[in-house]
């Protein structure tokens, strides 16, 4: 690890004022510290923000729930309100990492965790995300864990978060504090970005912006939901593919659908077209299959990840069927 200074921010103002472009906010450190040890992230200052007072969960004025940015993943996922009204979020979060890591990880940090692309982690390998202009090792290399949607010539990495897939299906906004002290609200779909020609940027966050809250919409998928995570071991592994599915049903018809996939793109991949397609349909296996075909029709896999297309279809059908069959 390279030498750095450590600032324990006592309040939001101090955190924002201490910020410089070469510093990093420190949440639980479960991602950042690993990357520093790997010499991938090289901040000269860490500003600890995990202890700032953004740790509450409360009803917001839009009938939804607001979740503090510094609350731990465990406390969030296990909170009675979240479990009751947003079980899809709970389920996605609890599928991630291990209990120990979830205890440390903060919600803000989870949104900003970086890709697990092995080239990104290995400082001697080419990687445009780590070192813009050095090339993308994965495109012609080992790309079994990489994207099938929305990638560019410069980067084919995927976003690794489970929580974010849940949030994408649910619909949410992210509240950030700008360095000038003002507040900005970002729609969840606009929070993460596609790599384009700037894969070094994972999100649309501006330098120095501090995540303080996530606002959830009015609960709609508290009865019919499922988070399916396909992985190489039963726990403590990132998703090969994951699907967050939420359905709202009235009189035997789907009135609203939320569907997002993880492990396939630079951001949680929300199937807006499929969500619309499902509305007004009677839920059954053939509709779910049609939804899966529609969802995966634009998938463009690489040599190493063709399995993701088939796996993705099966995963969508399964997640939707489970969501439909489920009654919490």
């Amino acid at each position: 690890m390279r030498p750095f200074t450590y600032t324990g921010a006592k309040n939001k103002e101090q955190a924002l004022q201490s910020y410089s472009p070469t510093s990093h906010y420190l949440g639980g450190g479960t991602n950042l510290l690993d990357l520093m040890k790997e010499d991938v992230e090289r901040p000269d200052q860490l500003i600890e923000v995990a202890s700032l007072d953004y740790k509450k969960i409360f009803q917001n004025d839009k009938g939804g729930l607001t979740i503090g940015g510094m609350l731990s993943n465990s406390e969030t996922a296990n909170h009675p309100e979240v479990r009751k009204n947003y079980p899809l979020l709970s389920m996605s979060m609890l599928s991630a990492a291990t209990a120990q890591i979830r205890n440390m990880a903060t919600n803000g940090g989870n949104l900003l965790q970086r890709t697990r692309c092995p080239y990104f982690f290995e400082a001697s390998m080419p990687c445009n995300k780590r070192e813009p202009g050095s090339g993308c090792g994965a495109i012609k290399g080992m790309n079994s864990l990489h994207a099938i949607f929305g990638y560019s010539d410069s980067c084919i990495a995927v976003h690794p978060s489970d929580m974010c897939v849940g949030l994408a299906a649910l619909g949410a906004t992210v509240e950030v504090q700008k360095p000038d002290g003002s507040t900005r609200i970002i729609a969840f779909d606009d929070f993460h970005r596609l790599p384009g020609s700037q894969p070094e940027k994972d999100t649309n966050l501006m330098p120095g912006e501090l995540i303080t809250a996530i606002h959830l919409e009015r609960p709609e998928f508290s009865e019919h939901y499922y988070y399916l995570k396909i992985r190489e071991r039963s726990s403590y592994a990132f998703a090969l593919i994951s699907v967050a599915a939420g359905l709202q049903l009235k009189g035997g018809e789907i009135t609203k659908a939320g569907l997002a996939m993880g492990g396939v793109a630079h951001k949680p991949w929300k199937f807006k077209e499929v969500e619309k397609f499902l509305v007004g349909k009677k839920p059954d296996e053939s509709i779910f299959e049609a939804a899966a075909e529609l969802a995966m029709k634009d998938a463009k896999p690489f040599e190493g990840n063709t399995y993701k297309v088939e796996m993705g279809k099966k995963a969508i059908v399964r997640a939707l069927s489970q969501a439909y069959a489920r009654k919490s």
Binding site: P118, E122, M125, S234, L240, Y307
Partner: protein, 724 residues
């Protein structure tokens, strides 16, 4: 003499060192209090093949706390390999920083020593190396033309393979792949090395203490008597700590240069590239059988890779020489030098991987013959080791299979794949036979008996290691048994080269060798004490009384046990059978092991609790081999892209099943006086085949490439239909 048998052998007692471990008092290599120690961090190559053109250490040297930077330019000259491509053994020298050549990605190209660990770690990043890069050989497939036969014993044949195939009613040919795997013991490889006026003291994490002293003395060309190696507690090895690796030599070079003890811990990431691995094996199997299941021919040809400078061959085919009665048999091993580190033994080398191929192929043949796979194996059982033309000292394979089948409920199995389902789950049962040689080696130990407040207590000393297996405990139980005192009154001191020599831990010979060594010392002590007082050999007398009669408060004796002539006339193996029930999700390709029954016949079980632990550990590692573990190679640069526990997937608790472990009572006095055989490697052997066979029974798809991941099962298309 068995006056008190409160806690002798055979009792499931807790580990005697368990308390030390859970309270943090057991000292692992870098936990010994060594004054004035400084810290080292190695620098690794970032190319897989080529030459170092220049190394700029100036920035590192200027960094805070840095005491020295070693590279090939300033490192002392060590003894070099005497021949080209020497075979890797447990006493092979470990020269390092001897040239500017790079043989594999991650090879040590430098060492930074600093006052603190953090300073050394940081400064190691400041060393700038320029390379002249060459295209590395990293693909087994593309380098087939370079395959060579390592030694005469790499090949074996019996009868006429072609004739055997021609005589068969059914034949099978199939190729099985097992990937590069890593041992990853919990305790990182680590050393505190002190060079003191030509004398060496190394606290290091090794499986074989005596061999370590040999490697060090040989590499530095100093007398063996001047080298002391201590490995009191070892946090796992699985074969990776058999050899004394280059980090030990690096630390010693630095200590010699600086005149200070140097601590060097190999990082988890470096453990992928510098402390051994299991290589990728491609195993081609051919089997011929008569309609009634009689084997007519069996061949097992293995293609593996070694490094470009040293040779290691895993004997995958050996299991196919001896497990079944087959008149025509052909075994071959070929190696291709590739730009990776030299592989080394990993738990059950040969058997773990070889049995995957053999026992999968046997299952495939049973299916072709429409025969129950257990009946097929029993049909071809042999009590003679045909490869050596000598009997097995004891072989209860049939019993293992039958008793396991009974416990498992094998008769519920549906022979036709895909006929047992539950919702999305396809359910399959699999079986596989296991065998593992049970060697036994010359072992010495010392017993120190004393009288304390009228009570006899004893200390056993030997240079054996307990690599997490329970050696401390079973040695204490042995002393308790043969001295007739409670285990609580026995102290065991291990892992110091000052103690009597043992073969160290490896090859499943530890329990038999160590315990017989301890037995010999205890028997000698008793015999000597009785002889002095003319007490007849057979007379029962408490140890304390024996000391009192001798007017002694302290008495020492040594003893050595070694294989008898009788032993050499037999093949001595442990046998076993593994049964598994596996559920495969037909949509997601995820597999779940629901339950396992493992039956072993492994001689006398010294302590059912530690023995159980060995089998459970082996089974878990087998599950990893079958379903989750693989080291992936970057196809252009030749580095490993699995570089931490986040992406090298060792199984977690959820991946494991409910396991029933059964040991058959076995008396094998040929194996050794105590009838003890190895179990450390028996557990892992055959698990992968058992699971792959269960997956076939569940899905109708033959999975011949490990690990069987969801990707592979999805690509195999889990639609109805059974592969031929």
């Amino acid at each position: 003499m068995k006056t008190i048998k409160a806690s002798g052998i055979g009792k499931p007692i807790d580990r005697i060192e368990g308390r030390l471990k859970v309270t943090g008092m057991a000292k692992y290599a870098t936990e010994f209090p060594v004054e004035n120690k400084v810290y080292a961090q190695a620098v690794n190559s970032t190319i897989a093949k080529g030459e170092i053109v220049s190394i700029d250490t100036s920035e590192a040297e200027k960094a805070a706390g840095v005491l020295a930077v070693l590279t090939h330019k300033n490192a002392e000259k060590l003894k070099a390999f005497e021949e080209e491509m020497p075979e890797l053994g447990t006493t092979t020298i470990a020269p390092v920083l001897q040239s500017n050549k790079v043989h594999y990605y991650g090879e040590y190209v430098g060492l930074v020593v600093a006052e603190t660990f953090e300073q050394a770690t940081y400064a190691a990043k400041l060393v700038k190396v320029k390379y002249k890069e060459e295209t590395p050989d990293i693909h087994l497939d593309k380098s087939r033309a370079k395959a060579y036969k390592p030694t005469e014993s790499s090949d074996f044949s019996r009868g006429d393979m072609d004739a055997g195939m021609a005589a068969a009613d059914q034949t099978l040919e199939a190729t099985y792949n097992t990937p590069i795997e890593h041992h990853h013991p919990m305790e990182l490889h680590a050393v505190i090395a002190s060079w003191n006026n030509g004398k060496v003291l190394a606290y290091t994490s090794q499986q074989m203490v005596d061999n370590s002293t040999i490697v060090i003395s040989d590499t530095f060309q100093i007398p063996k008597k001047d080298v002391r190696v201590v490995a009191a507690f070892v946090g796992g090895g699985f074969g990776s700590k058999l050899n004394t690796d280059r980090h030990v030599i690096l630390a010693l070079m630095a200590s010699k240069k600086l005149g200070k003890p140097v601590q060097l811990t190999v990082t988890r990431n470096q453990m992928f590239t510098n402390t051994g691995m299991r290589q990728h094996n491609e195993q081609n199997m051919r089997i011929g059988a008569k309609k009634d299941g009689t084997l007519t021919a069996l061949s097992h040809e293995t293609l593996s890779h070694t490094s470009t400078f040293q040779e290691y061959q895993e004997p995958c085919g050996n299991v196919s020489k001896m497990l079944y009665k087959v008149p025509n048999n052909l075994i071959k091993h070929r190696l291709i030098p590739l730009n990776f580190q030299t592989p080394c033994s990993m738990r059950a080398p040969g058997e773990a991987t070889g049995s995957f191929a053999l026992e999968s192929a046997m299952d495939e043949m049973a299916w072709k013959l429409k025969m129950d796979p257990i009946d097929f194996r029993i049909k071809n059982d042999t009590q003679i080791d045909l490869s050596e033309e000598r009997p097995f000292s004891s072989r209860l394979l049939i019993e293992c299979l039958r008793i396991g089948a009974e416990k498992f409920g094998w008769k519920e199995r549906k022979m036709e794949p895909r006929t047992n389902t539950n919702g999305n789950w396809l359910i399959g049962y699999g079986v596989s036979a296991a065998s593992r040689e049970a060697p036994y080696k010359k072992t010495s130990s010392k017993v120190i008996i004393s009288l304390e407040e009228g009570k006899a207590i004893a200390t056993i000393q030997m240079d054996a290691t307990d690599i997490g297996t329970g050696s401390y405990t079973i040695i204490a139980q042995t002393a308790s048994e043969y001295l007739g005192i409670p285990t609580e009154d026995v102290t065991v001191e291990l892992g110091d080269s000052n103690y009597p020599v043992t073969p160290g831990s490896g090859g499943s010979w530890g329990a038999a060798s160590y315990c017989n060594g301890a037995r010999a010392a205890c028997e000698n002590a008793i015999a000597e004490l009785k002889r002095k007082k003319n007490i007849p050999e057979g007379e029962e007398i408490a140890l304390a009384d024996l000391l009192k009669q001798n007017d002694l408060t302290k008495f020492e004796a040594e003893g050595t046990a070694e294989p008898s002539e009788e032993f050499e006339k037999y093949s001595v193996f442990s046998f076993g059978a593994n049964f598994s029930e596996v559920w495969v999700d037909k949509d997601t390709g995820m597999s779940r092991i629901k339950r396992m029954v493992n039956v072993g016949s492994a001689g006398k079980i010294l302590n059912p609790k530690t023995a159980y632990g060995q089998i459970i550990g082996g089974l878990t590692m087998g599950v990893g081999m079958a379903l989750t573990e693989q080291t992936k190679i970057e196809p252009n640069f030749g580095n490993f892209i699995t570089r931490s526990f986040a992406d090298y997937h060792a199984p977690v608790n959820l991946d494991m099943a409910n396991v029933e472990v059964i040991f058959l009572p076995e008396e094998d006095k040929i194996a050794n006086k105590m009838g003890v055989k190895g179990i450390g490697e028996l557990g892992i052997t055959s698990v992968a085949a058992s699971i792959a066979n269960a997956i076939f029974n569940a899905t109708g798809k033959r999975m011949r490439d490990l690990p069987i991941t969801p990707e592979k099962l999805i690509m195999a298309k889990l639609e109805p239909g059974v592969e031929s």
